[in-house]
Amino acid sequence: MDPKSKSRRELLKGGAAAVGAVAASASVSKIAFAQTPASGALPSYAENEAPMIPLTDDLIGYGVRSHYVTSKRIPSTTGYAISPDEFGLSFHVATPLQDSIGTIQASSLHYTATTKKTFIPDIDPAKHTLMIDGLVDRPRIFTMADLKRFPSVTRFHFIECNSNSAAPTDKTVQQTHGLTSNAEWTGVLLSTLFKEVGIKKEASWFVAEGAEEEKGASTIPMLKGMTDVIVAYGMNGEALRPQNGFPVRLIVPGFEGIFNTKWVRHIKAVDQYQLNMNDYGHLNRTALGAAMIYQIGPKSVITFPSGGQKLPDHGWYEITGLAWSGQAAVKNVEVSTDNGKTWHIAELKNTPHPMAHVRFGYMWNWDGGEHVILSRTTDAIGQVQPSREQLAKALGVEFTPQYRPPGNNNTIMKWKIASDGSVTNGLA
């Protein structure tokens, strides 16, 4: 016999023995793990049918959330158009606020809406450009690479659709308030680009136009553009997603959603209010009506406990939610657990930023009884989120239970807690 093949046979034998040893020790440890819960110690993942998450290319390359986490966006019914419609066009998609944690929405869960009924354009960033012209000294075309050569800013801002208004028929906070989201945006200030092109004195407005099918265009005050508008290419640490305007969009802090022009391709400085379709949508019969569909007011909502959720038992809970304002940072948030009779200052969970969501919390020992829980916010310029009654009074109209505030409804949201712990819409 060839010594080589003998040694190979021995090797194989030894190998088999080694494998047997591993198998034996694995079954020993499996038994040990399986016994621990019975002895009152921590349970183990080893009991799961598939204890290891398979190392797919997706898991390695981009990351995948646990299959136990199933939170999803839903097509919204609160806009004036149902989406998706029979053209297959998704118009408004609401974020699952009931599951939100912290103050930003993951990019994959950020609410989306299109200016009009449009498809999401598939834009090659190497070919996309932004042209700035009109009443400027030096009209310019910027490539994406050009935009990234300018000094950047990174800021937290929320965006909210004008139609984000709670209805008594809504069941969950995703339905009542899911058309707002907050993210960390990175880009170049529009004011930096405006200095680059040299805005002429007589330019009082600018028109921003997107590259999607309907090429939605909005007229925005030049002063706003010079103050805090961002030409953003980054969102939550990565490039924008196509639904959020890839490769570049405007962030117009505090102005209702449609102004935050996605897929922005052209900005024109002009000397009067233009009349594009989007601007036409902001014309109103009354001055009040026009104001109520322009900037988002001070607003807050409790996300836990909220509609559709259930408190399993009496005892301590953190009532938590989000607060924001379209004009300033949030100054404080108050929570009531007795339908507004008494109010308690909530804890703000991070530093409030201008025109950004902030998370609040208030520890509450539920006694197992029926409660109506509310939140209200006051912003840094002193605006207080009103109740529906207070808003009607301030606007000089009669309050009835059916009262519907005009424009974006920023009034106080109510959740009803029943004695079995179930939570329902308090407006119903």
Binding site: A81, I82, D85, E86, F87, K116, M131, D133, R138, P139, R140, I141, F142, T143, D146, K195, E196, G198, E209, E213, E214, K215, A217, L223, K224, H266, K268, V270, Q272, Y273, Q274, L275, N276, M277, Y280, H282, L283, N284, R285, T286, A287, L288, G289, A290, A291, M292, Y294, Q295, G297, P298, G326, Q327, A328, I381, Q383, K393, A394, L395, G396, N410
Partner: protein, 192 residues
Amino acid sequence: MASLKLVPVFLLLGGAALAQTYGVGRAPTAAESAQSITLSPTGAGLPVGHGNAVEGKELYTSKSCIVCHGPEATGGVTSAPNLQAKFGPDHNAWERRGGGDQVAVRAPNAIILWDFIHRAMPLGNEGTLAPNEIYALTAYLLYVNKIIPEDQVLDQNNLTKVKMPIGNEYVRVPDWKPNSPRIPASLLKIPK
């Protein structure tokens, strides 16, 4: 002398950074500038062309507007809005009602209708209509809403002069300043 003059400018702007330009980007070519579709409400920038409702009615079918917006622009076939308002000129423009944004009856300026058809319609094939076709389709939609007669020719000079039913009965967005409240104090019945 020149450098002395510069000093106050720097102080005014709060430092050199604010006045800085970077020389990044390039001037658009004439062809690129010509791609701008943004129109002024004065009508400046409108392409030369003309059309009336008779021509527009033909185009409404041949350009497949009818497929989505229905015969006579009365809607009802898809979720695309009807383009003919429910009520006639005996109703206030805000109450004539239709589908969508009722731009044909509520726009203060016919250029909004022209501009929207130009940039957005026919959905899926936008950007394919010639200026004459857009004038004709605009005339047709104004005609079915009883705003202009069937034989009126619209062109780059008279489009913005069409007398729209809304008249002056509309308000645009309020003036904006940093830190200005959402609801201007003048509109509150009980001052805060």
